[in-house]
């Protein structure tokens, strides 16, 4: 009979409970990621970069070599690591603000250069760490601290389609997918393929994970799931967008 928590092996036990809020999707994304890393057996070779955003709270989340970087700059830091030591397996972890706003030049250019790194982006439709401002991914009509009357698409545009954008500037070698913490098994599968794509030297891999932020959404558990599963998926289509391994007729999940 098990009386120890069933955490992924690469989670750092001493830093648990982790620093994320109750019900935070970051915990789920990193659980799926931890399992993916365990299953691929790459804990020792992995280098994990954490962006500023709530992702920074993961600076000591894993028993994995980790560097917490600046807001939006995790992609270049991790690119720098990989270029200098191609034996590492490099993961850049960031939020929608870090990835699609302040760090978008790094994201699109790393993608275009086909850097052999894996970028994982937790999309929670807002700037969570700073207290819930509008993000590029905020849904139309959604109220945030800087869209107090709801996001007006005429003023602020529609939610950024990150994976679609990344797909548009990458070529064959890239792996691009969007998962959700609502389907952790699938998400873990995407992570494994993304990491495998890096390990195979194919190229850039990118997974956006639809994630939850009950604190800034001001939702209870029920509404948290509902927002994730009903609202967000109206704008963000879950699935694989680009998969080099699926070339021969094999199709994504």
């Amino acid at each position: 009979m098990s009386t120890v928590p069933q955490m992924p092996k690469c989670w750092k036990v001493e830093s648990k409970p982790h620093k994320f809020c109750p019900g935070c999707g970051h915990g789920l994304v990193l659980k799926a990621l931890g399992e993916a890393i365990d299953e691929l057996g790459i804990q020792e070779k992995a280098v994990f970069g954490a962006d500023i955003g709530c992702s920074l709270l993961a600076w000591d989340f894993f028993d994995i070599d980790t560097v917490q970087t600046h807001h939006g700059r995790t992609t270049p830091v991790v690119t720098g690591v990989k270029r200098a030591n191609p034996d590492t397996i490099c993961i850049a972890y960031m939020g929608d603000g870090g990835g699609y706003a302040i760090g978008s030049q790094h994201l699109v250019n790393a993608a275009a250069r086909n850097e052999r790194i894996t970028v994982i982006l937790a999309n929670n439709c807002n700037y969570a760490m700073t207290g819930g401002q509008m993000a590029p991914t905020t849904l139309p009509g959604m109220k945030t601290e800087t869209s107090p009357y709801g996001r007006d698409v005429n003023e602020a545009g529609y939610p950024t389609q990150g994976p679609e954008m990344v797909a548009a500037i990458t070529r064959e070698g890239a792996y691009v997918a969007r998962g959700t913490v609502s389907n952790l098994k699938q998400l873990k599968g995407y992570f494994k393929k993304a990491l495998q794509n890096q390990m195979d030297g194919n190229g850039f891999s990118f997974v956006e994970a639809l994630s939850t932020c009950p604190t800034n959404w001001r939702t209870n558990a029920k509404d948290t799931w509902a927002f994730l599963e009903k609202e967000m998926t109206q704008y963000f289509k879950v699935g694989e967008i680009k998969n080099p391994a699926a070339k021969e007729g094999e199709s994504g999940e």
Binding site: M1, S2, T3, V4, P5, Q6, M7, W11, K12, V13, E14, K16, P17, H18, F20, C21, P22, G23, C24, G25, H26, G27, L28, K31, L184, T212, P214, N220, A221, K222, T224, W225
Partner: protein, 81 residues
């Protein structure tokens, strides 16, 4: 590295179920996803001084969904063979 967590185990027909109180933040995500609706708030306090959860082991099928969706790995479920 071993860290001790205060565990609250429950036994049922289909398996055993444990919540680690110092990991549970009382977010309630598990509760919403339990297909049997057999989780409820417990009077024990968790990581943030917030209530943890407890199962109704009569209904629990030890399916492990609650465990899977917990962002804090605060639940362990072992199915009986």
């Amino acid at each position: 590295m071993s860290v001790a967590y205060k565990a609250l185990p429950f036994e049922g027909e289909k398996g055993s179920w444990t919540v680690f109180m110092s990991l549970c933040k009382g977010c309630g995500l598990c509760m919403e996803k339990c297909p049997k609706g057999c989780l409820s708030w417990s009077s024990h306090l968790g990581a943030y001084g917030t209530p943890t959860i407890e199962p109704n082991m009569d209904d629990c099928t030890a399916c492990g969904i609650c465990k899977a969706v917990c962002p804090d790995c605060a639940i362990a479920v072992v199915k009986k063979k």
